[in-house]
Every structure is written in structure tokens, then in C-alpha cells.
Symmetry: C2
Subunit: 445 residues, 2 copies
């Protein structure tokens, strides 16, 4: 990737995230019908990654490389990405998430919005997971003409997006704004190659006829729809821990408070935090914010996305709407969230309290989560081990810990803490696993 | 204050905070009887500060100065302390907290542990609020011999602590470790001058016969006990908003998630965050932590103080125990907290969800809190105004905002967000207002 590309990339990145940065004009925008039941079969096929462990390392390296331009020299090390990379590989062979594959490959996977933070992670995931495609095409407006070096897929020249080009791919991963996706995703989906479009924006998440998918939860058939919506990062990370618990104990109430990283506002958000911290270190002052509504370094901002009429923000309501749709919950299951931006670079954390219909034993829940796909239990007080964003960065699995019986809800209540990589489970990885399921189905046919 | 003092100060500061830094050996240490009812009369006497507005500015300046050694050149500006200082003064004349005073002064107020983060703020509060004392004496082990310049109380030479010296003060403010306080506070309390000891450690908070006081809530007679315990910072900040609501609507459940600043671990904690951020900016690496169990810059740490047998940490249990004791709550009022350290310098934030016996209207609650002492409603979504630690830094009042009906508990539920200065309401200010009430009573007699 040409070094001069990074600035351009950053400019696009904000829009490329389904997880909106901040305020925007705030008319009330509820989902049309969030209660649609989409609980699908939890299709699990043999792990591709575990079949080809050697394939993992160069791609993981490229995942770290995708982060590198945003973070100045050496930062990747301070974030522990070297360690993480190795750990991820170790993990993958053991428990990596659902991976689809029969024999064979598709001809082409396209990434639209390839130069943003999520788009870059999508390419890294395709490489890292040895995605069964002959070719990857990258589409981005301002980065068009740049050449991206991919160890797995060769040199890729970034192209300007066209509907025709999108339709030449069996799978299109959309890492673009809601407006762009709303216009173009339906034009690409289906078509001559029966293209599968997997959209990371919020444009289609609340539409009755569009599946909203976390592949380990409601994938399977849903992943093979012509147009599939990827959930918001905050929802996806929390859902990984909530789903196994819901299946066994039935959720009644979910109360979530988040600790969300600057990466939720794209590469621009991360760059603003980093630049703010550097300015503070050298001049003692933090420059006026441009990406965030308020200074993020040394601060927390209890607002993400636009305020709604009910006093919650859209980011908070997404958790309610999306968990209802993905889990197929009844209206009497109550969900509320407080979404807060904190000065971290990457990986979101969530403190979650639940009440369930059936009593729970924290040890049983721990054992249940240890077997769950895409989840890693990190919960050992004696060694001060619990989920933290710094450790979850670059990891496929969502870390869950601090599991304890709730003092408020007694034996039908539980509190726990999760940390998950916002760009992976919260965006790129989730989309790529949906694509794996779609491709497996396609190759079976 | 001699510049060479600052390093020494930092070394003491951790111990000087009731709000313990981190891990420590973790045997279960519950309170002996947290349910003791101490709801006192909410005595409010004319505001001293508002009588003498001119007196406020030099002392506020000294409050900012107390922070300055910790934060390298110019940092105070980036934290907005200049602005804050002015705002605090403006605020004070309007609504500053309960202030005690009849005519006259006591002879001496002592600050034990004067060189720690809380001890310094105590002196600043005494100056800022024109505390009715002829003299202030400062006690600290390693800083003994240093001379502190106080605009209000002249040059003060720091002394080594002795019980005799403590007994020469009518009021002793203890900003020391629990162990130190446990040994010496009872030896000072009472005595020839009927010395009032106000202890910021957790040594006496859960003892039946020792009042645990937030002066606006259960002060009055309780403030005049020979030994009074100051609550934990997290409790005190949340309680300011919870108390007026409880009085009108009766609390049933309180669920709190915190966003706690490095200042909770004293000047050392703040220094480690600042040094970590500076190292990151220059070398790209963050040094190994010494104060915190894990790296704090660009991370969040979901553990403060030692783990208890029930899976909560002691910091979390303090909120339960202390709210029960201060509010005089029945056992069926359920309280749970998740305490999380975030990379901010000063001022804690808390996301709070409550269920009450009576239905609430968010507008009514907003109006109620606007009239409450020690609280400032900052809740205007249209101007992106809500509580943030950066704005609460250096402020006496606790900011409350994001007030909305809870999606989980309906019209008997409420969510809100608070930010309060951990070193002021969370420690020094609360202690000084207790002392003001004690002195007012003493001078009346």
C-alpha cells in the first residue's frame, strides 16, 4: 500500500463505519419492525483455518499492517499487536469462529470502501482466513488507482466503484455509508452472478425482508440472502456472550453500559485521539476536536450518534433494536444501553447486567461460555485476568469475564464484562464469516 | 511549595486516598453492619462563600496550583482549569454546597497527609471557602520541613505528625491510609479541645458507632461526632444525584457502571497515566505499569480495589455498603456497581439506572435536581451538553445529565449520567463541608 494513501484512507473511514461517529441531525428514526424473528440454524462447518494453520500468519501480519498507517511508528508494539498476532493464531486452530467451505472457490470477492478502517480489516480477514476466492477486487473513490499489496491475492489496484464491477463479484462486502449502501447495494445484489451483498451500514438493518446476521447466532440460510445486513459493532460484541446465555436461561432484561473506542469513528477517530495525545505530550494542550463533538483525550463522552426522542442515542437504540431482531426476542424482553466513548484506540468494552427467566450459577455460565463459538472466557480474579480492550485488540474472539451473580437480580441475575475488537467481530470479521457461510452454500449447490 | 516537594508528594498520595488504587491481597472484608440508619437533618446555613465572593479567587487558584505539579507545563490549560476556576467562582455565589458558620473562628485545623493529592485539595478547599480558622497546620512524613505558601493562611511549615499535635487542632482532616487512620484517629478524636476528626480512609466507614457523612444528605448532628467517616469517592458522587430522587420517589434498585479517573489512585496514578501517554507520544511505547495492575493509557481496567468472595470488587461493594448506610436504606433496596478505571486524569463519571417505588417523569426529576444542593444539571441534547469528566474537573458540584426514562423499568425507571471531581466532592470538599458543619455547631455552643 502506498504510504501517501493513508491520509486519503482516513478521510473516507468515518463514513465507512456502520457505527456512526456522533451527532448528525437527530430526527427520530426507529426501525420499521425490529421484532422479526430470524433465529436461524447455527450452521457450523469444519474450520478452514484449522485445516491450514500455516496460512494464518502472513494475513495476520497484514491485519496489523492495516492498523499501522493510523498508528505512528512502534505503536503497534505498544498495543501488543505482536503478541496478539501470535495469540490469535494459537486461538484460531482451537476455536476460531464458524468457517464455511466445501471444495472449490468463488471467482471474486469485492470490497466496496476498501480504504476505510473496516474495509482494510475485511481484506485482512479474507487473507487471514484463506477465504475461498480466486480474486479480490477493491473499490474506493479517493484511493482509486492506488495499488494494495496482498500476500494472498497479489497486487490489487483500487478501482472506482461501479454497479457493473460489483456485479462481477460473487460476494460484495460493503464498508460504506448508509446513504451509499441504500442506493447501490440493491443494485448489486442478485444480478447475473447472484451476487451476495453483505452491508456493514445501518441502511437495511431494520427492514423486515433483510436478514440482520451474526453468523454464529442466526446465520445459515440467512447468510445466503442476496442482501444481508451486518449488525452494529456494539450489538455484535455483546451478542456473542448474550446468545448462549439466552438459549439456556432466557433473557428478561439486559442493561448495558459501553466503553467504546475511537475506532468506532473510523481511522479518523483513532487519528484524532492519537494526535490529541501527542499534542498534549509536547505542548500540554489538546487541539480542538473535529471528528468528535468534544475532546476525547483524558475525557469520556456519553454520546455516540444522534439523540432520539426518547432521550437515548441512536447508538444505544441500535443495541435494543438489533438484539430484538437477531435473537428474535418478544417485546417483553427489555433492553437498554448507555453508550460512552472513551479514549482508547480500538476494541469496545461493555458492562452488562441481565435478568433471566431461569436461575443461573455463575460457574455454569462460565462453562457454557467456554464452549461458545467466538467467545473467550478471561475470568480469573486471582491472576487479575479479565477482559480489557488492549488484549481484545486484533483478536477474533470476544473476551468475557467478571462473571458474577447480580446483587440486584439475585440468582436470576448476572453481571459480566466483555471486550471485543470493534473492527473485527464488530464489523469486518462478522461480515467475512457471513460471506464464508454464503459461499459454502453456493459451492454446495 | 518547594518544587522538589512534588516527587515526595506523589509517593505518599496513593495511600492518602480512601479510594484504593487496586489489587492488594483480597480477603473478604465486609462491613460490620452497613444498615445503620444515620439519616440526619439536612442542615443548611447561609453560604459563607456567597458572603465573601472576593475571597474565592486566590484559593481557587491555589486549587489549580495543587494540581499543577502533577501535570506538566500547560496541562492545566488543556484541562480547562482556567475556565473551570472562573466557573466555579460564578457557581459558588449561586449554589455552593452547605456551608457552616456563625460568627468567629476556631484556632486550628490540621491536615494529616497534607502532601498527597487529597491533602492538597483539602488545603485548597479551606482557602477557597474561607474556612473559619485562625491557623492551618500541615502534617506529612516525607514532606516534613517543606514550607507551603498559603495565600490565606500564610507560610506553613509541614510537620511530622504526632498525636499531641493533632490534639492541638479543633479539627483534624485525615488524608491517610486506612491503617494509619485506624491507629491514630481515635487517639486524636475528643481530647482536651474536643477535636473533630474527619477521616477520608475506609477504616471507620462501616462501624456502627461512626457516622458516615455526606453533609447535604445526613450531616447536621452527625458532622459533629468526634470521629466522622468520609465516604468513598464513587459513592459520594453518585449519592448527590440519587438522594433527592430517593427522597421523592424511593429507590428500589440502583445499577451503576463507573468511568473512574487515574486520580482515584492518587497523584501517583495521575503521574503514571501522564508519563505513559508522553512515552507513547515520543517512543510509541507505554512503559510497564507500577501503580495500576495493567497499562492504563489507551485501555480500560475493570477492576478497582481487591476482589471479594462474591465476585465484586471492594470498590464496587463500597457503593452498596455506603449508600445503604448514608441513606439508611432497607435491605430490600438492591444496589450493584461495576467499577472501571479509564484513562482520564481527574473526575469520575457514573452511568446509573434506577428503579423506584413511585413513577417518575424525567422533566420532574430534572427540575428536582436543579434545586438540589451540590448538583448541577447539564442536560441539553440539542447543544450536545451532558456531564463529562473534563468539565467536572475542579468543580464543586456534581454534573448530572442524560436523564431519560428507562427502557427496562418503564415509568418507574430512570437512567442518567454523572461526572464529579473525585478529589473534591469525592474526598476533600466533602470532608471540609463536614468540618464546616462541625465548626458551626461548635461556635454556636
Amino acid at each position: 500500500m502506498a504510504p501517501q494513501q493513508s491520509k486519503t484512507n482516513m478521510a473516507v473511514a468515518g463514513a465507512a463505519l456502520g457505527c456512526a461517529a456522533l451527532y448528525a441531525g437527530s430526527s427520530f428514526a426507529g426501525p420499521s419492525a425490529p421484532q422479526q424473528s430470524l433465529r436461524g440454524s447455527s450452521a457450523t462447518i469444519a474450520s478452514f483455518a484449522s485445516q491450514t494453520p500455516a496460512a494464518a500468519s502472513p494475513a495476520s501480519a497484514s491485519s496489523a499492517a492495516a492498523l499501522a498507517p493510523v498508528l505512528a511508528g512502534g505503536v503497534a508494539v505498544s498495543l501488543g499487536l505482536e503478541k496478539r498476532r501470535n495469540r490469535r493464531n494459537a486461538q484460531k486452530s482451537g476455536r476460531a469462529a464458524v468457517v464455511a467451505c466445501a471444495a472449490g472457490k468463488v471467482g471474486c470477492v469485492g470490497i466496496v470502501g476498501s480504504s476505510g478502517a473496516v474495509g482494510k480489516e475485511m481484506l485482512a480477514c479474507l487473507e487471514d482466513r484463506d477465504f475461498p476466492t480466486e480474486k479480490v477486487r477493491l473499490f474506493a473513490k479517493r484511493a482509486a488507482g492506488d495499488v494494495v499489496e496482498s500476500k494472498k491475492f497479489g497486487k490489487i489496484t483500487v478501482e472506482p466503484f461501479t454497479v457493473e464491477a460489483g456485479q462481477e463479484c460473487e460476494v460484495c462486502l460493503m464498508a460504506v455509508s448508509g446513504g451509499f449502501s441504500e442506493e447501490f447495494s440493491p443494485q448489486i445484489a442478485g444480478g447475473p452472478l447472484n451476487t451476495s451483498v453483505i452491508d456493514n451500514s445501518s441502511a437495511f438493518r431494520y427492514k423486515d425482508d433483510i436478514p440482520l446476521v451474526i453468523p454464529e447466532i442466526n446465520g445459515g440460510e440467512n447468510s445466503s440472502a442476496p442482501l444481508v445486513a451486518n449488525p452494529n459493532c456494539t450489538t455484535a460484541i455483546g451478542a456473542m456472550a448474550l446468545w448462549p446465555i439466552h438459549q439456556k436461561y432466557k433473557l428478561k432484561k439486559v442493561l448495558m453500559c459501553t466503553y467504546q473506542a475511537s475506532s468506532g469513528a473510523g481511522a479518523e477517530g483513532m487519528a484524532e485521539l492519537e494526535a490529541g495525545v501527542k499534542a498534549f505530550a509536547t505542548t500540554g494542550k489538546v487541539p480542538k476536536p473535529e471528528v468528535f463533538a468534544h475532546q476525547l483525550p483524558f475525557n469520556v463522552i456519553p454520546q455516540i450518534d444522534a439523540f432520539q426522542e426518547n432521550g437515548y442515542t441512536k447508538e444505544e437504540m441500535k443495541v435494543t433494536w438489533e438484539l430484538q431482531k437477531i435473537f428474535g426476542l418478544d417485546d417483553d424482553v427489555k433492553i437498554a444501553c448507555t453508550a460512552v466513548r472513551v479514549p482508547t484506540l480500538r476494541a469496545h468494552s461493555e458492562s452488562i447486567t441481565i435478568e433471566t427467566e431461569l436461575p443461573m450459577d455463575p460457574d455454569d455460565v462460565r462453562a457454557l461460555l467456554e464452549k461458545a463459538e467466538g467467545v473467550k472466557v478471561v475470568d480469573e480474579p486471582s491472576s487479575l485476568s479479565y477482559p480489557m480492550p488492549l488484549n481484545a485488540t486484533g483478536q477474533y474472539d470476544v473476551e468475557v469475564g467478571r462473571i458474577r451473580q447480580s446483587l440486584v437480580f439475585g440468582d436470576k441475575g448476572l453481571e459480566f464484562f466483555v471486550s471485543g475488537d470493534q473492527l473485527l467481530r464488530g464489523a469486518a470479521l462478522n461480515a467475512v464469516i457471513i460471506a464464508e457461510q454464503a459461499v459454502a452454500k453456493r459451492l454446495e449447490a
